[in-house]
C-alpha cells in the first residue's frame, strides 16, 4: 500500500439498484485500487475490491489492438452499413452515455433496447396497462408499517434494502424501525431473506398470478373457495389474514422481483401485483415498487423514454421511434436472426441470454463496450475497454425509485468512458449518414419534410 491515499466520501455504489450513496472509499492512487469501502454491503465490497484497471488494449478489432479512432471508424461503419443494427445494454453506465446511445440509434435508424427487457420489461408493459402507485425509498423508511417482498431475494440481490430503506431503518413515523413494521415475504423457496420476515408465505412455483388474484378478490370483499390452497399452496386463512393486515396498515409497500417477471405469466404477474397495490388505495395508502437490478437500469428506462416516448425495445427503422416488445426487444431480434449488427454497451448478453440469441451473436459483427473482458467482448469484432462508471467516471445514475444521483469519481482510468466513446461514434455515424443520404435525402417516412442543406 502506498502513501498516496485519498478518501472519497458520499460515493455511490453502482452495483445494484439501491445505489447507496454513503460509501466512504479509501483509494490508493498509486496502486489504482480501492482498499476500503466503508458502509458497503458484501456485493459492494466485492465491486470495489475487485476493481482493477485491466491490462488490456483500449480498443481492439478482431482481437488485435488498434487506435481508438480506427475502432470508432470501424464501429461507425458497421452500424451505418447494417440493415438492422441493434444497440443493447446500458444498465451499467451513466445516463449521459445512455443519451448518446439513443442518439446513435436515432441517427442510424436502428433499434435500441436495454437490459430492462430481460428484467422488469414485463413490469413496464404491465404498467402501461394498469399504472401503479409507487414511492421514493425514503417514504418506505419514514412511513411504511407494512412491507411485503414478493418474488425476490433482497438479502442477496439488494443487501442494504433492508437496513437502509425498508426494514430495520428508523424513519419519521417509524421511530422503532423493524418493531414498527410488519414484514411479509412471498417466495417459492426458502431464501436468505426469510429471517427478516414476520410472515413467510410459500407459494407453489408458477402460481403467483393465482395468488395475487385471490388477494385482489379478497380485498374487494369477494369470497374465495378454500381450494385456493390446493392451487397455490397457501391457505385461505393465511390470505384472509394478510388482506386484513394490508387494509389496516397505515402505509403499505410491496417490493417485487423477477420471480414474477421471468416466470410464466410475465407481465400479467407484475400487472396483477400492481393492480393489487392500486386496489388497496381504496382502504389505505399503498404503494408498490419493482426492486430493480443493475446500477442504472432505471436511468436507461428514463432516458429511452424521454428521448423516444417508449421505455425499451424501440425501433427507428422508419425514421421515428416505434415500440413493440417481442419484436424490437433484443432476445427477439437476435433469436429471430433479424439483427445484422449489434453494439452491446456495459452488459454481457453472451453470458446470460438464451442459447439461440447467443448463437446469432456469433454470426454478426458485434461491437462491445465494457471495462472488463467478458464473454461478449471476447466474441466482439470491435471491442472497447472502458472506464468504470462511479469509480473512474462521474455522471448521473437513477436509483430504482427514479431518484437521480451524481456519481463521484474515485480515481482516473486510462480508458475512455462509455460517454466519450459513444459521443465519438455518434459524431462519426452522423457524418456517414449525411454523406450517404445527404441533408436533402428523405429517409424514413415520406411525411418528413425534405430540407435543403445549409
Amino acid at each position: 500500500m502506498s502513501e498516496n491515499i485519498r478518501t472519497v466520501k458520499n460515493a455511490t455504489c453502482t452495483f445494484c439498484g439501491c445505489l447507496c450513496d454513503d460509501m466512504e472509499l479509501t483509494v490508493d492512487l498509486d496502486e489504482h485500487r480501492i482498499t476500503k469501502a466503508k458502509n458497503a454491503c458484501v456485493l459492494g465490497r466485492a465491486w470495489y475490491a475487485e476493481h482493477v484497471i485491466e491490462d488490456r488494449p483500449a480498443a481492439m478489432i478482431d482481437g488485435k489492438e488498434v487506435d481508438f479512432d480506427e475502432a470508432v471508424e470501424e464501429a461507425a461503419q458497421v452500424l451505418v452499413n447494417a440493415k438492422f443494427p441493434i444497440i443493447y445494454g446500458l444498465s451499467d453506465t451513466t445516463s449521459e452515455a445512455q443519451r448518446e446511445a439513443v442518439a446513435i440509434a436515432d441517427y442510424i435508424h436502428g433499434t435500441i433496447d436495454t437490459t430492462t427487457s430481460v428484467c422488469h420489461g414485463p413490469t413496464g408493459m404491465a404498467f402501461q396497462g394498469v399504472g401503479e402507485s409507487t414511492m421514493s425509498l425514503g417514504e418506505v423508511k419514514n412511513r411504511a408499517d407494512m412491507v411485503i417482498f414478493w418474488g425476490g431475494n433482497p438479502a442477496v440481490s439488494h443487501p442494504r434494502l433492508f437496513t437502509r430503506y425498508a426494514v430495520t431503518t428508523k424513519g419519521m413515523f417509524i421511530p422503532n424501525g423493524k418493531k414498527d413494521r410488519t414484514i411479509v415475504l412471498v417466495d417459492v423457496r426458502k431464501t436468505a431473506s426469510d429471517p427478516v420476515a414476520n410472515i413467510q408465505i410459500k407459494v407453489k412455483p408458477g402460481k403467483d398470478f393465482e395468488l395475487l388474484w385471490a388477494l385482489r378478490a379478497l380485498v374487494k370483499g369477494k369470497s374465495i373457495d378454500p381450494s385456493i390452497e390446493k392451487i397455490t399452496g397457501v391457505s385461505l386463512a393465511t390470505l384472509e389474514d394478510l388482506v386484513d393486515r394490508m387494509k389496516k396498515c397505515n402505509y403499505g409497500v410491496i417490493f417485487f422481483g423477477m420471480g414474477l417477471t421471468m416466470t410464466r405469466g410475465r407481465h400479467f404477474n407484475s400487472g396483477a401485483l400492481m393492480a393489487l397495490g392500486t386496489d388497496l388505495n381504496e382502504f389505505t395508502h399503498f404503494v408498490v415498487k419493482p426492486a430493480r437490478g443493475h446500477g442504472n437500469v432505471t436511468g436507461a428506462d428514463n432516458v429511452v423514454s424521454w428521448q423516444t416516448g417508449y421505455p425499451f425495445g424501440v425501433n427507428f427503422n422508419l425514421g421515428y421511434p416505434r415500440f413493440n416488445p417481442g419484436e424490437f426487444t433484443t432476445v427477439d431480434t437476435l433469436s429471430n436472426r433479424d439483427a445484422d449488427a449489434a453494439m452491446f454497451i456495459a452488459s454481457d448478453p453472451a453470458s446470460n441470454f438464451p442459447k439461440p440469441a447467443i448463437e446469432h451473436m456469433k454470426r454478426i459483427p458485434v461491437i462491445s463496450l465494457d471495462p472488463k473482458q467478458t464473454i461478449t467482448s471476447s466474441l466482439a469484432h470491435v471491442a472497447f475497454t472502458t472506464a468504470t462508471y462511479g469509480i473512474n467516471t462521474t455522471g448521473t445514475v437513477y436509483r430504482m425509485d427514479d431518484v437521480p444521483i451524481t456519481l463521484r469519481k474515485a480515481y482516473d482510468s486510462p480508458f475512455p468512458s462509455d460517454e466519450e466513446i459513444l459521443t465519438a461514434i455518434k459524431k462519426r455515424v452522423r457524418e456517414l449518414m449525411l454523406s450517404k443520404y445527404g441533408t436533402s435525402g428523405v429517409r424514413g417516412e415520406a411525411k418528413v419534410a425534405s430540407l435543403t442543406p445549409l
Binding site: 430481460v118 408458477g206 410475465r266 416488445p325 419484436e327 432476445v331 471476447s378
Partner: protein, 115 residues
C-alpha cells in the same frame, strides 16, 4: 433414472461477488454450474452431494454439480441454479411477444451422469 423438473435460475451472493472478479474466472464458472436440489429428490434420482447431473430440454443440455437442500427449503421438483452461461444453455429464445424469455421457469429433464 430421468425426471422432469422446474429449473429456477436466480442470484446468489457468491455469484454476485464472483462476477466482480470476472466472468471468465474459475470462481464464477464454478458457482454458476452448481445446482440446488431437494435431498429427497436427490435420493430418488440416486444422486449424492457433489455428484454430476445432466439437465436437458429442447434448447440444450448442461452438466452441473449437485448441492443438496432440505425439503422444507426447496420444494420437490424444483431446482435452483445461479444465473450464468450454463443456465443460458437451457433457455429458449421465445418471448411470447414480451421480450422476456422464460428465464426463471424452465422445464428440464434431470439425470445422473456417471463419471
Amino acid at each position: 433414472m430421468t425426471e422432469t423438473m422446474i429449473l429456477i435460475p436466480g442470484r446468489t451472493s457468491e455469484q454476485g461477488t464472483a462476477l466482480n472478479k470476472g466472468k471468465l474466472k474459475a470462481e464464477y464458472q464454478h458457482e454458476t454450474s452448481m445446482l440446488d436440489i431437494n435431498t429427497e429428490d436427490m435420493e430418488r434420482l440416486g444422486l449424492q452431494e457433489g455428484d454430476r447431473a445432466r439437465l436437458s430440454n429442447e434448447t440444450g443440455e448442461i452438466i452441473v454439480t449437485c448441492r443438496g437442500r432440505k425439503p422444507e427449503d426447496l420444494p420437490h421438483g424444483v431446482l435452483f441454479i445461479p444465473y450464468g452461461p450454463p443456465s443460458s444453455q437451457l433457455m429458449a429464445g421465445e418471448t411470447a411477444g414480451s421480450g422476456m424469455p422464460l428465464s426463471k421457469h424452465m422445464e428440464v429433464k434431470i439425470e445422473k451422469v456417471d463419471v
